[in-house]
């Protein structure tokens, strides 16, 4: 074990390992790119859905079942299926990552919306606010912390799973994991895994820090 971690150290600091098309710098950038694109697409689909369900109070059953359905979808199977249907491109990877990210965003958005005190909504309506205004000015701001949590969870899951891109010939940090598996080069696998975990943890910390900064005024206000 000690040797493995020592080798990991030299793998990580070797300057050669950081440059070129197979360098960590490039792989890291690819990984972030895949993860961000997938999470943004998922958010564009899932946020309106979660808001709608939360605002109207209809379709909650659907939302919860969608979540467990989404969690049950095998990512490998989805990637292969879309690959066979659409050919070699990033589409299979994005479809699988988006499918993975949607449930956390929908359920947390929905949970955030239902947690808004009905009396607050009634008060807003009492002041003459329309449904749209209640949604935009009262419900969404109050639900925002949980919505952000959903986005954060989704992003972390996507970062950990974006390794799959390497299975269908693309890049990202998964390249080290899959190449290391084929070459039985455990240092490379461990290096890839550690980098993915570090990216996920750093993103998580950054986003929760941002969340704290954004919502600090709430207690003061």
């Amino acid at each position: 074990m000690y040797e493995l971690f020592k080798d990991l150290g030299s793998w990580l600091v070797s300057s050669e390992q950081w440059t070129g098309p197979d360098g960590i710098g490039h792989r890291l950038a690819e990984h972030l790119q895949y993860s961000l694109i997938a999470t943004v697409i998922a958010a564009v689909i899932a946020l309106p859905l979660g808001l709608l369900i939360g605002h109207t109070g209809r379709g909650a059953f659907l939302a919860i079942n969608l979540a467990s359905f989404g969690r049950a979808l095998p990512t490998v199977g989805l990637v292969v299926l879309v690959f066979l249907a659409s050919g070699l491109s990033m589409t299979p990877v994005y479809v699988a990552l988006v499918a993975l990210a949607i449930p956390s965003i929908v359920t947390n958005t929905y949970a955030g919306m239902t947690a808004v005190d009905p009396e607050v909504k009634d008060a807003a309506r009492g002041q003459g606010m329309r449904g749209r205004q209640v949604l935009l000015q009262v419900e969404i701001p109050l639900a925002l912390p949980l919505i952000m949590t959903g986005l954060r969870l989704a992003l972390i899951q996507v970062v950990a799973t974006a390794t799959i891109a390497a299975y269908v010939s693309f890049g990202g940090l998964g390249r080290y994991v899959f190449d290391g598996l084929a070459q039985r080069d455990l240092v490379q696998v461990l290096g890839g895994a550690v980098l993915v975990a570090v990216v996920a943890v750093v993103l998580d910390l950054a986003l929760s820090g941002l969340q704290r900064v954004l919502f600090r005024h709430r207690t003061a206000a």
């Binding site: 095998p74 490998v76 066979l84 249907a85 950990a160 993915v196």
Partner: protein, 219 residues
Amino acid sequence: MTIEWAWISDHAGDLTTLTLSHLQAALTAVLLGLLISLPLAVLAHRVRPLRGFLLGLSNVLFTIPSIAVFVLLLPVSGLTRTTTVIGLTIYTLVVLLRNTVEGLDSVPAKAREAAIAMGTRPLRTLLTVELPLALPVIMAGVRIATVMSISLVSVATYIGDGGLGQLFTDGFQRNFPTPVVVGVVLTLLLALVADALLVAVQYVLTPWTRQRHPKSGKA
């Protein structure tokens, strides 16, 4: 992309074997995960400083890509079912540990105090008062962990295991969609059935929670 229905009926036996093997891997992992997280959760619940550490650790483990975990286990447990189960167990911990701690947190202090006041020993209080009251939250975790494990088993196809995941590699190598579709559908069905069964188990285990929902109560 066409589905060859004949392939499905021709392979009913293989599909059953793969489904059972898939289920066995997932369930073993959840059971092991529960065995590990129950004591850890009690520890995290009782010893505050350990709580952040244990939950944080399980969170970090969760961010490691599952394929990497399987590969890194090869020198330890080889190309075996054990590798698959250990890998999956690691991923169940994040959900099981968090939910069990939260479940214990949700037990009203009064319930515990009352038991102790009646002279019940701490271990007995834990087993007969706290854990049963925490059960709904723990079971919610078990449900998520089960569904997640069922979906994750197929990743072990990269090390020659993976239950229904074998259908994905097979379909991929031969440019043959039928096994892949069947694999995805069976995985989903397995997850839905397992989840429904767990709901039923919870219903039986926690009779006291049933009256709380006015809608389901009959006058």
